[in-house]
């Protein structure tokens, strides 16, 4: 394969020397060179304007131009071409200057040999190519960065600011020129620097992007604003060194909109419920004779009104529920609940209806008690809703409620022998406002929100709900409530409150009390006694906690404690107090030698600002 010839423009007014170079280069075959000559600057510029040259070999002293000027003229004519300068011994200074200005290399005349020259030419061309690619990439990146609508801050491995884009400038009111090259810790942004730097450290340790929301900062107008950003680690040149990109946005507007929506729900709820309360109470009082005696007809009429008021009340509640679910504002208050008794109680509420219709409710549970951590009110609501539906759509037969322990959770099923749902309608069952079988007859139509609400509540518990149904045969709705261990609950609570603490800069502490060698203890004093020991510990802990947001939760051999808004130093004091008190009690029962209570304390911000870092501190 014939290699393409490299086209060289040899600009040299000394024709003897020019011939020498040409001869030397014509001997090179790998790659072969094609030499064109020019003896004046004018000639060179004309030739270059025509294109097709790969490299310029340039003598600086020409009849119509000298020294640096020669180089400058050639370079401005063809900025993309590599230029190698031929220089006399005296001109080395200039040659070095030229290389600094962008010339690729220089050669001292009289010291040239063929292969050296060829090599220099090849390298000059390659280098120029590489420079071009790099420059293009740089320009593209620059264009990309400046078109971003997000904040972009670059941080070098040593902690200095390498990038500070326009959006960062306008958001913080700090210009790039002020901060480029400065340490990130001193960038001048008025935020909780400690928190941000701690996150940077964590990002470095984990080598994984880290998202932070709700970081408060002072905007350029002095007003408090909220920032959300992601820290992205990029491996540096040496092992373990990282550059960081901070990529984020001012989320104040978004958060404000959320808050307005939340307040709207609150206000609307108040505005609906207040007149409803007035109407209900007014009608009740007349109905009950509080305002004076009334006739039977009056009583009958008012009774209808009262029932309608209750119906309206339920609809308002459903609307508010669905609104809360949609904006993710469902807050669970978990406690240990017995699902079996909850189901029993819900079914009792329907006993008059089922009797009237002549249908039975059958409850099927393997055990008398099945306990799980869940929100009691919400689970009751779910049962009530499902049972209500079942009864509404069943004319004869029975309603079955079954509760099963599935190991990883508790599965509850409400089934009926009613109308059933058509196959094509099944996917829509949990959607809002969808209703089926409305032709059933007169009576309450409902809002079509019931199942959507159930789904929302179950998903808030991180559970699942699904339906099986056949037209004319009946329907089965099953939901699964996952089991949370004390540990998982503790972590969930910790996570929720830590997020708030980080956002507000408020402290938070956690304490873990552990009975050492619990198995040995169990063997020694028996299971029941051992259980009592943990219960006593839990009571003791609870006695010493005073804030409503304090959580103490017992595990097999430990008690986990979360103390939002408590400083680590205070937590240490409380822990010590509890430990001493407990060990004193143990001593009284002569168990002191065998049983030791270990306690570990961790706090935000001292031990980090994520669940993992705090839990690591306590070795959980």
């Amino acid at each position: 394969m014939e290699r393409r010839k490299i086209k060289i423009l040899l600009v040299e007014d000394n024709t003897t020397y020019a011939k020498l170079i040409t001869d030397i280069l014509s001997l090179e075959k790998n790659p072969p060179f094609h030499i064109e000559g020019a003896t004046t600057l004018k000639e060179s510029l004309e030739r270059l304007a025509k294109g097709g040259i790969d490299l310029v070999l340039l003598d600086l002293s020409l009849p119509d131009s000298q020294g640096l000027e020669t180089f400058d003229r050639i370079q401005s004519q063809s900025p993309l071409l590599p230029i190698v300068v031929l220089t006399g011994l005296d001109d080395q200074r200039i040659a070095i200057e030229i290389v600094r200005k962008g010339g690729q290399d220089y050669l001292v005349k009289g010291r040239v040999d063929g292969s050296l020259l060829a090599s220099i030419i090849r390298h000059a061309i390659e280098r120029k190519q590489a420079e071009r690619v790099l420059k293009r990439a740089h320009i593209q990146t620059g264009q990309l960065l400046s078109s971003l609508t997000s904040i972009l801050i670059g941080i070098s491995p040593e902690g200095f600011i390498t990038h500070w884009n326009t959006v960062a400038e306008t958001t913080f009111g700090i210009s790039a020129s002020e901060v480029l090259g400065q340490p990130f810790s001193k960038c001048g942004v008025k935020w909780n620097a400690g928190s941000v730097l701690t996150s940077l450290e964590e990002c470095r340790k984990k080598n994984r992007p880290l998202r932070l929301e709700d970081i408060r900062f002072q905007g350029h107008d002095g007003l408090e604003r909220l920032l959300g950003f992601t820290l992205i680690p990029i491996s540096g040149e040496t092992e373990g060194s990282f550059e960081f990109l901070l990529f984020g946005a001012d989320i104040t507007a978004r958060k404000q909109a959320e808050q307005i929506k939340n307040e709207f729900v609150s206000t609307v709820s108040h505005e609906f419920r207040t007149p409803l309360a007035i109407i209900k109470e007014g009608v009740s009082q007349v109905y009950e004779g509080v305002c004076g005696q009334i006739t039977q007809t009056q009583r009958d009429t008012l009774k209808l009104s009262l029932e309608a008021i209750d119906r309206l009340g339920r609809i308002v509640e459903e609307l508010l529920d669905i609104s809360k679910i949609e904006s993710g504002r469902i807050e669970l208050r978990r406690e240990l609940v017995d699902i079996v008794s909850l189901a029993k109680m819900s079914s009792l509420a329907f006993s008059s209806q089922t009797k009237a219709k002549g249908i039975q409710i059958k409850l099927n549970a393997p055990q008398d008690r099945l306990e799980i951590y869940a929100d009691k009110d919400k689970v009751t609501q779910i049962f009530t809703n499902l049972m209500g539906n079942a009864i509404k759509f069943t004319e004869k037969g029975h309603i079955g409620i079954s509760i099963l322990d599935k190991g990883n959770g508790i599965e509850c099923c409400v089934s009926d022998t009613g109308k059933g749902i058509a196959k094509e309608d099944i996917p829509k069952v949990f959607s809002k406002f969808e209703q089926f079988a409305r032709e059933i007859g007169p009576g309450p139509k409902g809002t079509g929100l019931g199942l959507a609400i159930c789904k929302g509540l179950i998903e808030a518990h991180r559970g699942k709900i699904w339906i099986e149904s056949e037209l004319g045969k009946g329907t089965r709705i099953t939901f699964l409530l996952p089991k949370y261990t004390a540990r998982e609950l503790f972590k969930e609570y910790l996570g929720q409150h830590l997020k708030e603490s980080v956002s507000y800069g408020a402290p938070l502490s956690l304490i873990i009390f552990e009975l050492k060698d619990f198995d040995k203890i169990r063997k020694k004093i028996g299971n029941e006694q051992a259980l009592l020991l943990v219960q006593d510990l839990e009571s003791l802990v609870k006695q010493n906690l005073h804030r409503k947001s304090d959580l103490a939760i017992k595990n097999t051999d430990a008690v986990f404690v979360v103390l939002p808004t408590t400083e680590k130093s205070d937590a240490l004091t409380i822990a010590e107090k509890i430990q001493q008190s407990y060990e004193k009690d143990l001593a009284k029962n002569s168990l002191g030698n065998d049983i030791k209570l270990a306690c570990k304390v961790a706090g935000f911000p001292e031990d980090g600002n994520t669940e993992e870092s705090l839990l690591n501190q306590t070795q959980l």
Binding site: S269, H270, T274, K280, G313, R547
Partner: protein
């Protein structure tokens, strides 16, 4: 002697209704229409129980409750928070300020009367759980 109940609510209709109900059940009633007035009346009249709305002008119900409970002279007066606002956070907040009970509007009159009876019989606030 009839027990005296202070109703603090900015809705005149609510005040009228609840007073009617309470009077029909043998209680004496006085009322206030904003938080500031409520606080002043509580201190002046020392009622046997306070029914306290939350969304009040001049000073909200939480603040009023908190101030009363923090003052040892009046801390023993049972307080029922009475409101159309119901979120989990709201009842938690109610516990934090020391309320003795929490009744939601629209309310069940029977339930309200029962709570009033429980709380006034005990004679002092003992932190009956909200519900």
């Amino acid at each position: 002697m009839a027990k005296k109940i202070l109703i603090v609510d900015d809705e005149p209709a609510i005040v009228t209704m609840v007073s009617n109900r309470l009077k029909a059940n043998g209680y004496d009633c006085i009322s206030a229409k904003d938080g500031q007035e409520g606080l002043t009346m509580a201190k002046k009249e020392k009622p046997d129980l306070i029914i306290l709305d939350l969304m009040l002008p001049k000073m909200d119900g939480y603040k009023v409750c908190s101030l009363i409970k923090k003052d040892s002279r009046y801390a023993k007066i049972p307080i029922i928070l009475f409101t159309a606002k119901v979120q989990a956070e709201d009842s938690k907040l109610g516990e934090e300020v020391g309320a003795d009970a929490y009744v939601v509007k629209p309310f069940n009159a029977q339930l309200l009367l029962e709570k009033i009876q429980q709380l006034t019989e005990k004679g002092s606030s003992t932190g009956v759980p909200a519900g």
